[in-house]
Symmetry: C2
Subunit: 358 residues, 2 copies
């Protein structure tokens, strides 16, 4: 097979930052083969009001008119059910992202996952208006409670089940699954899903977590992100899920650009793996290596967009189709966009699939 028509691939977890970084990295969404970008709200300060999210979206649209941007609020104490209701009715946001405090970049304003009840009034509005709850599914590391970067995700899962139990119609994404336990939880919730039925709770999986295990980020900042990559059996469970053709596993890259200087310090390295400009090439290599190239379109173009109600060309900013073409692409050692140097996933590797828009 020398080329594959992937239609309109969508990345349902993207960090486009702010200021000069936004100008630098936003065009990479299309470069990487994505027609739709679901944009994270963890700016400083976090995105929590309608005017700001509209201005942010307009800025992104101006930079990349051919990319469709879907926007989110940051779940925090400053959000009110009224603002959420209004934002939903206006179509200003498609979802709300929940970060446990301190687990990743700019999550300082995040919340305590053992105390979701305070947000139930907001969850109710979200359920009624069809907004999606995007969960960063980790408990913050707390030594006294034995929570660490390895068990942070499994120990969060009871909170996912509790929210789903209390809001059975609320659409929830467990973002960037990294463990066999998370894959099992999503499968368990969907065990009675009928063929063709759209799931209410899905798990998103990144490109880099399909490649990495703990030894790949130990001593290697370019591969360091939260949640951290876990063990071989976890990585293999992610690969099986992403290539399974199960509609409750969707693609979200969690592609997180960081300046090289933030990755090269001796005390606090920025967490995040940047895959955006080559993300389809990474995925194609991984799916092909596993003999599942025929499952790639489901994962990147169908399941996520059906879950988010974006499986309708008329909603797209541009109808160009993305083609995966068997043509080598060389990953540089590092990137330089508008003078900003960034680390890039799998530096210096040559990949065998490229992206073309037609």
């Amino acid at each position: 097979m020398l080329e594959i028509d992937l239609g309109h691939p969508a990345d349902y977890h993207v960090h486009l930052r702010q200021g000069e970084m936004t100008a630098a990295v936003t065009p990479a969404v299309r470069k990487g083969g994505m027609s739709i970008a679901y944009v994270m709200p963890n700016l400083t300060p976090p995105v929590t009001d309608i005017e700001r999210v509209q201005k942010y979206k307009a800025e992104l649209q101006r930079i990349s008119p051919k990319t469709t941007f879907l926007m989110t609020f940051y779940l925090s104490k400053v959000l009110t059910p009224e603002v959420v209701y209004k934002a939903a009715k206006l179509g200003a946001i498609q979802g709300i992202k929940c970060y446990p405090a301190g687990v990743t970049t700019n999550s300082g304003a995040g919340i305590d996952p053992s105390d979701f009840s305070r947000f139930y009034p907001i969850f109710k509005v979200m359920q009624d208006t069809g907004l999606v709850l995007n969960l960063h599914g980790e408990r913050p590391s707390i030594q006294s409670e034995g929570i660490n970067v390895i068990n942070a995700e499994p120990t969060f899962l009871p909170a996912l089940f509790a929210i789903h139990r209390d809001f059975p119609r609320l659409r929830i994404v467990l973002e960037h699954c990294t463990t066999r336990a998370a894959i099992r939880a999503i499968s368990e919730i969907n065990k009675d899903l009928k063929k063709g039925q759209i799931p209410t709770v899905v798990g998103s999986i990144t490109a880099h977590h399909l490649f990495l295990t703990i030894d790949d980020w130990t001593g290697n900042p370019v591969n360091y992100c939260k949640p951290v990559a876990k063990f071989t059996e976890d990585r293999d469970a992610l690969v099986r899920a992403a290539t399974s053709g199960k509609s409750y596993f969707i693609f979200g890259s969690d592609s997180a650009p960081h300046e090289i200087s933030k990755k090269c310090t001796f005390n606090k390295i920025a967490a995040g793996v940047y895959t955006q400009p080559y993300v389809l090439s990474y995925l194609a290599e991984l799916f092909e290596r596993n003999g599942k190239l025929d499952m790639l379109k489901n994962f990147v173009s169908k399941f996520g967009s059906r879950f988010y109600g974006m499986d309708d060309e008329s909603k797209l900013a541009c109808k160009d189709r993305c083609y995966l073409v068997k043509k080598p692409v060389q990953i540089p050692e590092k990137l330089c966009y508008n003078g900003i140097e960034l680390t890039i996933f799998r530096p210096c590797k040559e990949l065998s699939w490229s992206v073309e828009w037609r």
Copy 2:
């Protein structure tokens, strides 16, 4: 208690490097309160011949005449039983260090721990001549075998039991224990040890592993070393062992100086935590915090030196005694020795115990 006479503390696992780095870091052994330094052989190329080890020792002695240096060979295929016998008889070395290939700095020439039998002729000579076998107790990470940085030590332990079974009189140190499993293994081997009897197999414990868990080095290169720090229950087991007064847990800092530039890269960070210049201050703080300050002298001055047969003042290059004095010491953000910038453990912290020689 305002001061404690520690006598002659000894660090039975020290990296003093080569060239300019050696000149820079060797004086820090005494600065950190250590009278004796047991010197690792992982230079490039590794130390495997008598002339080289004698020259290396002479160089160290010239730099720090008041420090007693004990020397080691690097276990590798180039070593012969004849050379080992001669080195032992000359007193040129006190032990031989075994590194599984690729587990730490300059261990590329190391060996496969599943294949120790090839070294049995050397182990026999070591047993007969009283040399110590220093084991870096990790299996190399091999995905296909499910070995990773977390289980690398527990999966190595069967090799320790096998060598001890086949050479029951060979003195062995399981270096820098990091897991509850390793502590249990050493305790199990010594379960019938009589009071006052010198153990044949001991475990050494570093200063930094008494402080660190996985979350402390995740994203924090200054705390990144091999073996990596593990989980809270492992760290707590190390603290209990070091403060237990059990003679089969001895001190070896594995203090490993690295230039800041080697700690600040985005692809391959140097593994190693540098504690040497303040190592007694770290230990005093830890022992005091655990209400075990009275156990510190056993750990740093008695058990190790009795095991190595160094509990005899006449063997020391200098009879000065080390006093721990209740006087604050400020750890800098980084060190600069002879123009070489180094990372240092617990940068910017103030510790409450200082070292004085009298």
